[in-house]
Subunit: 400 residues, 2 copies
């Protein structure tokens, strides 16, 4: 009997709950909790109707450790899957330590008042998790998550040394709205409007936002303008694969999307500095989030595919080698299965698989881990059958 507690009932939480319920031989009891219990109840009803599986729901404010502790004690899970807001990673880790429960998330902690994406805060929990004999798995979504697993898998099976890593993330989908973000707009805009950064020859190179642009070709999608942005998995990957001479992250953005972002910044609505509005402190970006379409509402008419993968160059048996491993995910297929769009789906499925790895003891260890530190093989196997099959291209032209 394995109990799991999922915290967060956005698009990703929906997918995680759905996929756990699909795998109820592993996840024999599932509780879904969120600040707004009614969101959990809607998902639970849907799962009951469509899969015939009953999950429980609960209300919790993940900003408050005592509330979390109380809930964890009631539910008594083996593992908490955190798909709430990145601001809440630390409170949930604290609650797991206090209650002796494993932890897994999909995005690194960031403080609410500065756009700073780094693992330092969570890596600082290393000793506490080690001493408690507990496992904390960080960044087990798609990117970070599957991209890190891809890299570990390539390093293990196809290279003697990996030297050049380009993670390429394309959303070739069309949601039919003038402007909307594919996940929490607050996090999305913070991430996309920051300066670019990549690793080269042992140091970080900083660029202006969207300074480096290249048209890259994505399978079944075609050429798309792609930009070097900073993305959190680079930090742990260059640490865990010190042979990397260069590591970059590319994301596609349409011109209209970038125009919207530029204007959002120009008019001050991307700001995370609160202003006093009629006696209330309000962060413009959080207010904008409330005005923009809910990413969870995008699934309905979302067409097209995402394509995310790793393009790697290195040495094998003394020879140069290239390797490209990727997954394409259809927004429509994701919606048909889980009633969530592809970006939520590609994040939620790996979180479920990571949880499965822990509960089935395929992954174990005391401490705080990034996913590339774990054995990639059983995870890659599950990706094939859980909805995110991958494709390999050996010794092709990588464009990069």
């Amino acid at each position: 009997m394995s109990k799991v507690l999922i915290i967060g009932a956005g698009g990703v939480g929906r997918v995680v709950a759905y996929k756990c319920a699909q795998n109820n031989n592993v996840f024999t009891q599932i509780c879904l909790a969120s600040r707004t219990k009614s969101k959990c109840d809607l998902i639970a009803e849907d799962i009951k109707t469509r899969l015939g599986v009953t999950i429980s729901t609960a209300q919790v404010d993940a900003d408050h450790v005592p509330e979390l502790v109380k809930l964890i004690k009631e539910v008594q899970p083996e593992l908490v899957i955190n798909v709430a807001l990145p601001y809440q990673d630390l409170t949930i880790m604290d609650a797991c330590l206090e209650t002796g429960v494993h932890y897994l998330d999909t995005a690194n902690y960031e403080p609410q008042d500065e756009a700073k994406f780094e693992y330092s805060w969570q890596w600082a929990y290393q000793d506490r998790f080690k001493q408690a004999g507990l496992t904390a798995i960080l960044g087990c979504g798609f990117d970070p998550g599957v991209t890190s697993i891809y890299t570990a898998y390539a390093a293990k099976h196809h290279f003697d040394t990996i030297e050049y890593l380009d993670i390429v993330d394309c959303n070739g989908g069309d949601h039919g709205k003038a402007f909307a973000t594919n996940f929490n707009p607050e996090i999305n805009i913070r991430e996309v409007t920051q300066k670019g950064r990549y690793w080269e020859n042992g140091q970080w190179v900083e660029t202006e936002p969207h300074e480096i642009r290249k048209d890259l070709t994505y399978p079944s999608i075609g050429k798309k303008a792609s930009y070097v942005i900073y993305h959190e998995e680079l930090e742990s990957l260059v640490k865990n694969f010190p042979s990397l001479k260069r590591a970059r992250f590319w994301m596609t953005f349409g011109d209209e999307y970038l125009t919207h972002l530029r204007v959002i910044q120009n008019i001050g609505m991307a700001s995370i500095e609160p202003i006093n509005y009629e006696g209330k402190e309000i962060v413009p970006l959080q207010f904008l989030k409330a005005v923009l379409p809910d990413p969870g509402s995008l699934g309905d008419n979302y067409v097209g595919e995402t394509s995310i993968g790793c393009r790697i160059k290195g040495k094998k048996d003394g020879q140069d080698k290239t390797y490209y491993v990727y997954n394409n995910c259809s927004h429509q297929a994701a919606f048909d299965e889980t009633r969530a769009q592809g970006v939520s789906y590609t994040t939620g499925v790996p979180a479920m698989i990571g949880a499965m790895m822990l509960l089935t003891k395929k992954w174990s260890g005391a401490g705080v881990f990034n996913v590339e530190e774990m054995n990639p093989d059983p995870f890659m196997e599950q990706l094939m059958t859980q909805g995110l099959p991958w494709v390999e291209v050996h010794d092709g032209d990588l464009e990069l």
Copy 2:
């Protein structure tokens, strides 16, 4: 002894107070009131320092008739100059009726919950002002205001019949900010994002927003992309000059400005429908106003000129005739004189002149009037010496 009460301490309120103080032979006592008294005090100090004239200040919430009545009874002005928000026109008119005081404003009433620019609400006060023997002057800024006076002056002196009127409004200035509006952003965005409308052959013709575009040449500025938008003076002008076969209003917008407006609409921040944000009802456009630069702060580095005028075609002595009358106003010169930029200056100076016309009995009458119903000659004379000199071009090429 003539006492005046000015309500509103934004950029326009500053200019009105300043110009009244300059003309303290007419305005022997001046009181400036606003929701935030400290804004009035700053202006009063500046006027004291630079002109040596003392004005009094007061706090008032112009949404509430009893507060207004109390203040008017204390101050005992002959006239209230309303340069507060257009939402507050009716409460201020009510208070003037209750206290027996003349009224003047620069922009027509609009309800806060719909973007509807028309005089109907204020024209409905006609009988009450008439019976009270009081004068209400509507729309006495630049446009409406001076543009209506220009039209009346042309009709009186240069035409037997005016047939085609094009009001052309160019802001050729540069405030150096990525995006800012020149007056209250809430009003500006509501006005600019609405559908276009113009008068032709006895009826209104509606267009999509910014559907009609033409490059027009403005004196000392050059060619600028100009768009047909609806502007409130058209409503009264076609009524008061029934010979008009066509009446349009053109305004210049840069491509960047329009891109910003388009995005502001796309992301939902131009909406006047309140959303519930953490238990508080907030109108997105009003929140955006709080985030955008205060138009009053634009003066400092504002360079370039505005150019606003009327291009008129009609008949004189049986012959076709064209006539163009305009004013160019330098942002820098306006700022040097009043510490407000040109858009505030061109609105505030005519309001002062209108008040002067009433107090010196050059204008009189019981009822509600648009400015073109009054004698334009003494007003045109004052424009020449009060900072907004005008230029006439007879029988030139009007481009339109």
